[in-house]
């Protein structure tokens, strides 16, 4: 059993250099996406199928009326209770032993349920063309560099972060670091908080935010959509149970038919035989 890890992001140390975006593109071999000017230094409006992390630039007026420029590295949160995993009809999304949530591209059929149900809006569909020119889609998102974790290496974005705004390590150690940092910055940033939402069972990317989550464009209290819970935790098991019951009924019918029809002829054959005699 591998250790459960957390990526800890301290936005108060981020200087908005966007090296994390470059490192992600580089390691995951993701193509460039030319974008229109967003009205700020932010390069992409949000994460996309080919840009798995985006540095958000937020202009914020603080309680003193001063302008603050806030930065946030945004990517998949790797929820402990992931809505995407719950709604995926093909079981293409799963948890790894490290705590990351990953998509199996061979199983993904591009239905987009995960995209619709992610409370953080960090999954997107990429469109590809097969050799016959037919288009097909696959869900894509940050993998927390699970391929690197398997080799004992930290995620590419963390390694490249020069101000040390991102750290990676054991879950307990990272939570302790976040608590310690929060106590250090609370005086300077009275609204500072740790973003590790309980509504999704906690996440494997946690933040120390200087302001309320909504200031950073994050849901204050995200939770797994009820429809996802009903689908995964109730409908699917009941459906399987019903399927099992139906199968049992068919088998029972077959067996009873064989047992109680010892002549080896069914009614159809008898009737056909009767017809021929006539």
């Amino acid at each position: 059993m591998a250790k459960e890890y957390i990526k800890y992001v301290d936005v108060t140390k981020c200087d908005g250099c966007r090296a994390c975006m470059v490192a992600c593109k580089n390691w995951n071999d993701l193509p460039a996406e030319p974008e229109e000017f967003q009205g700020s230094l932010q390069s992409h409006a949000k994460v996309t199928a080919n840009t798995w992390n985006v540095l958000n630039f937020i202009e914020h007026e603080n309680s003193k009326g001063d302008l603050e420029y806030l930065f946030r590295h945004s990517s998949c949160f790797h929820c402990t209770d992931a809505a995407c995993e719950k709604v995926c009809p093909e079981d293409a999304i799963s948890y790894t032993d490290f705590g990351s949530v990953v998509i199996n591209n061979d199983k993904c059929v591009g239905c987009g349920y995960c995209v619709q149900n992610c409370p953080f809006d960090v999954i997107s569909l990429a469109t590809y063309k097969d050799k016959n020119g037919k288009e097909y889609r696959k869900a894509q998102k940050c993998t927390m560099c699970t391929d690197r974790l398997e080799e004992g290496m930290q995620p590419a974005c963390v390694v490249t972060c020069h101000p040390g705004a991102m750290q990676f390590g054991n879950k307990e150690d990272m939570l302790t670091l976040a608590e310690k940092r929060l106590s250090e910055i609370k005086e300077k940033f009275p609204n500072a908080n740790i973003y590790n939402p309980a509504g999704v069972g906690g996440t494997h990317t946690i933040y120390v935010l200087a302001e309320k989550p909504s200031v950073y464009g994050l849901p204050e209290k995200p939770k797994v959509p009820t429809s996802a819970v009903i689908w995964k935790d109730y409908a699917q098991p009941i459906g399987k149970l019903m399927l099992g019951a139906t199968t049992m009924a068919v088998m029972a019918g077959f067996v009873s038919n064989k047992l109680f029809n010892k002549g080896g002829h069914d009614h159809g054959q008898d009737e056909e035989g009767g017809d021929s005699d006539e």
């Binding site: 974790l149 080799e151 004992g152 290496m153 390694v159």
Partner: protein, 267 residues
């Protein structure tokens, strides 16, 4: 780095040996090492170990041999008779000689000892080196704050081991590590550890596809090489000897490309 050309069984054995050595080091009396920090001698490349007296306690030595025997036998029970023979052969004088010969890498002595006593050739030097390392590591621990550089071509400033391993740390600084005594010291990134060459046209980095943390710094002046690992990317940092072991494939690559562990220092 989880994948390695070294088998998991061997890695586990090495880790167990290191655990034992750490325990032994903890039990050593710090006064059992009497060193003289002669900066003038060290500037000429004399390793600190040559300026040190080790007070080897014989009962402790025998106890360590026995503990090591138990560990080795748990892996290979066939070694019992040879290891028992070693224990019979060792007396206080032999223990002292072993420590001295291990310090000076005198393989000829150990080869002769093995031949005379009908032992496998690897057993005496392996035991002596394993038992000597806690002393070296304690020496390195006590003097690390005074070690800030080494003389190119003279190996580790503490134990004299040839330089072969370095790590990238902090903002990318090259820190050389001795896998034998754990001493570490910084070195210019573009500098050969073996001949001190700083001509960038004669220094190259060999890399392995798919291994972003590994580099081999090679020097075309002396044909020496040093393995440089970017351990900043690792989740947990391995000890220098485990790192050296797990990157043994880099030694093969360097040597297959015509480079040598120590280089040829031109006069």
């Amino acid at each position: 780095m989880k994948t390695s050309v070294v088998s998991n069984e061997y890695q586990k054995l090495q880790e167990e040996i290191m655990k034992l050595q750490e325990q032994w080091k903890q039990n050593l009396n710090p006064d059992s090492i009497d060193f003289r920090l002669d900066s003038e001698a060290m500037k000429t490349g004399v390793p600190l170990v040559a300026l040190t007296n080790f007070d080897v306690k014989f009962p402790l030595f025998v106890q360590w041999v026995d503990e090591l025997k138990q560990l080795l036998m748990s892996q290979n029970a066939d070694l019992e008779s040879q290891l028992n023979r070693v224990i019979e052969l060792i007396d206080e004088e032999t223990a002292k000689v072993w420590m001295e010969e291990a310090f000076s890498f005198n393989h000829l002595y150990f080869k002769k000892f093995a031949e005379e006593n009908v032992l496998d050739e690897w057993i005496p030097p392996f035991l002596a080196e394993t038992l000597f390392r806690p002393y070296l590591q304690l020496l390195s621990e006590k003097t690390q704050s005074k070690i800030s550089q080494a003389v190119a071509g003279c190996g580790c400033p503490v134990c004299g081991e040839p330089v072969r391993l370095g790590q990238l740390e902090g903002k990318g600084q090259k820190i050389l590590y001795c896998p034998r005594c754990h001493a570490n010291w910084p070195e210019k990134k573009l500098s050969c550890s073996h001949c001190g060459n700083e001509d960038y046209e004669k220094m190259k980095y060999l890399t392995v596809e798919g291994k972003p943390t590994e580099q081999i710094h090679v020097c075309d002046e002396c044909k020496g090489y040093t393995k440089i690992i970017d351990t900043r990317q690792f989740i947990t940092k391995p000890s220098p000897e485990m790192l050296d072991l797990k990157t043994i494939h880099l030694d093969y690559i360097a040597q297959e490309n015509g480079y040598m562990v120590m280089g040829e220092i031109k006069k």
